[in-house]
Symmetry: C2
Subunit: 474 residues, 2 copies
């Protein structure tokens, strides 16, 4: 129930941000009278979802501010929303998560080094206009489809002609189709609604990869959201407590206290470091056998060899056992490696990178390795007024050049760049749909890799300042 | 899933208590080597639970500290554990909740006035010996039965003869039967274990009453635990967000934002006050129709008439609508009153007092109105070395005098009194089982009601300093 868990997060994180009620305010979007504009019933439903309600946000009129619709609330989308000029644009964010997660510190929240609320920031604080402006919204919903095509029929090739497009047309203009996230509420069935956009920013991110291994999603915990960290904390604590109750067998005790981390990327290593600190400092004397608690496939393949050797040495010193192996099957109490070894676990953290989400897969636009093709200005070249940033994009369509790494620093800089690009476009009168085709977009986006860092526990960290191979991309 | 919710609480509350890992330590009970003493397999199972493991804590020997077993971690049990002299006794606490809840402030956490962690305190902090001393434990478990009888066979009427009792006896001495709480862990089945006691304190509290009304436990939220407050916050927030998504009907919007509180006792009134503050200050301008959000049966029947009138006036002024009525049926989206009125709700908080728990009902000792009969020294007269304090007790067995109110101040003072009584008994050599029969217990427990207080929002509160009718009880 990711939604349920997200809400738990909301309640424990966002509401905790201050001790006054003020902290709730950013979550409350504009007034109900706004709903008067959601009257048109398009009744379109391209994606087979039961159509309980179809309403939405109609196209903006020429005397209204143009509307930027942002899909997602991660590094890319949030940085964009933070910097966008709300005097020029109305902002509508559609995401199943009403906060941004500061992912690099997520591993530290699993063992209590940091509080959950320290790594989450409500959207309404990142961009206060979303709770303040009458036509800016945050919608707790998933985007189910995008109707790019209807954007292209429009007669208005220039800003001044724009007002004609919905007067002349019998079909709705470009829009995103959304479905509310209602998991955890018994009494409300999800419903669909459409949002027309002037500019659309696809920043919906990627999904954790399980390589099709059976049992991963059922039994392992990822580490990408606050509710994942809460789940890890909960299991860790529960296993410690259960192992202390009379009657548990020695074997079961060893299993309960055996934490297995699959994946040796930064997240896996950082979590291992944190866990090792926690066990060494607090639990070690009492549960000496938990030393033997960790397995990882390969350590930090993105780092320099010497750094990897150093990390391996440090982690081993802290009691982390590193194992190379290929996971074949994940069962409720053990994983089975390809060589047949059975590894019992009490907690299994799965951190083997990310891949494309089903939503991005479903979009009918050019992609490479599941990531959306864009141009030098982060536009999706085949459709009008659509941009894509963050983990879901990266492939340079015109040249077929390599994909940028799925890193926070890429996403964040893309968001920053795109906000200033859209602000420039809006200032020059190209904010409304189909009004920026012939504009000069200025300097293209250039990504320069600034280096990587990963903590490995005991106040030690790796820093790799080499210029990456991808530094010259874009 | 109350256990799951408790763990959520643990993770978001206890681990948050400080930003270092130290905060986890109190939860981690003593070393695994202690389990060597859990070897005896009694194989008794009187309560029909599948017997996966039966182990436990054996009777203490005469050269060991006597063991006080405390069932419950509420006001009574925690105050007792706080004051008990751990140089004299080992303390074992059995409870499905590893923290104490400061219930009077619980209502304030529902809307973000207070953080959840501000109203919860881990048992290991209340009595550090539980994580420090090798034979003191906290067990995350429910007590399923108590074997009082086997306590009486003992030959040793005096402390000095005690060592003979388990040498001579073919049957185990007095013990409590427990079952681990493993809800939320798929891989572990609950198991049973037994704990022998020298002194047993039943402080397992009462349960929220639903008067057998259908649907209450499924659809309403109580307000007695931290996870209840989290659930209320979650629903409140979710409903506010859902009501802001395009496509929701006007009627559904009204329902989602309609909060109904059943019960006009202090908890119901305090929650109404907090909710009204929250809505007035943060949401009111945007959701003006939520004024119309509350119904309550009867206001503060335990308070003076004038105070009740004042509270009613103040709450009405804050936008709370008070309705007298009898709830007949609770459905997922509406309650039905006895006069046939249907009241749709988005959030239903049920706060109509407490009654006996199934565990207390199952105990074969004298009770009145479901509460355990005790004597002037809080002992359960019919059995040896058993005491009962807090909401689960109250009836004076010898005289049949009235039951003390189920209030935190009663429980807390009983816990304090009993701790000093047990310390005195222990100091005089009566700590071990069956060694305190002929002792002089000193002054009996006397309860003096100090008054009641309830906040009603807007920084206003009622204070009733009348001497209660029960003030002379005990």
């Amino acid at each position: 129930m990711p939604w349920f868990k997200n809400l738990i997060k909301i309640s424990s994180t966002i509401l905790n941000q201050s001790s006054s009620y003020k902290s709730m305010t950013p979550l409350v979007s504009p007034s109900l009278t706004q709903f008067l504009q959601f009257t048109k019933d398009y009744s379109t439903n391209n994606n087979g979802i039961t159509n309980h309600h179809v309403a939405g946000l109609e196209p903006t009129k020429n005397d209204q501010k143009p509307r930027v619709v942002v899909l997602g609330s991660g590094w890319a989308g949030c940085r964009l929303m933070k910097d966008i000029d709300t005097n020029i644009y109305d902002v509508v964010c559609v995401s199943p998560r009403n906060h941004m997660v500061f992912t690099p510190l997520l591993a530290s929240t699993c063992v209590g080094t940091l509080e959950f609320r320290s790594v989450a920031e409500p959207i309404g604080r990142i961009q206060p206009a979303i709770s303040r402006e009458p036509s800016s919204f945050f919608f707790l919903a998933n985007c189910s489809a995008i109707d790019f095509d209807n954007h292209t029929w429009c007669l208005g090739q220039f800003g001044t002609l724009n007002f004609t497009r919905y007067l002349l047309s019998p079909i709705p203009p470009a829009q995103v189709q959304c479905q509310t996230v209602t998991e955890g509420v018994e009494t409300v069935e999800p419903w669909n609604f459409n949002i027309s956009y002037d500019k659309l920013v696809i920043a919906s991110g990627a999904e954790a990869l399980s390589f099709g291994i059976k049992g991963v999603s059922e039994h392992a915990t990822f580490l990408r959201e606050v509710y994942h960290a809460q789940e890890i904390r909960r299991k860790l604590l529960l296993n410690l407590m259960l192992s202390d109750v009379p009657g548990v067998s020695e074997e079961e005790k060893r299993r309960l206290l055996h934490c297995v981390v699959v994946g040796g990327g930064p997240t896996g290593v950082e979590f291992s470091g944190e866990l090792s600190d926690f066990i060494r400092k607090d639990v070690h004397q009492r549960y000496s056998h938990v030393k033997d608690y960790i397995r990882a496939n390969e350590i930090l393949s993105s780092f320099d060899d010497r750094l990897r050797t150093y990390a391996t040495k440090q982690l081993t010193k802290s009691g982390v056992r590193l194992v190379r192996g290929l996971v074949q099957d994940v069962q409720p109490e053990k994983i089975i490696l390809s060589d047949g070894t059975e590894v019992p676990y009490g907690l299994l953290v799965w951190s083997t990178g990310v891949g494309p989400s089903p939503f991005v897969n479903s979009l009918d636009i050019p992609k490479a390795k599941g990531r959306i093709g864009i141009d030098e200005w982060l536009r999706v070249p085949s459709v009008q007024d659509v941009y894509s940033i963050g983990d879901c994009s990266g492939f340079l369509e015109s040249t077929g050049r390599q994909v940028l790494p799925a890193l926070a620093q890429v996403a964040e800089r893309q968001g920053k760049y795109l906000a200033s690009l859209l602000n420039k476009v809006g200032k020059e009168g190209g904010g409304h749909a189909n009004s920026a085709q012939n504009m000069n977009f200025g300097d293209p986006f250039v990504y320069k890799h600034l280096g990587s860092m990963a903590t490995i526990g005991r106040y030690k960290a790796l820093v790799d300042l080499r210029e990456s191979k991808v530094s010259s991309f874009f």
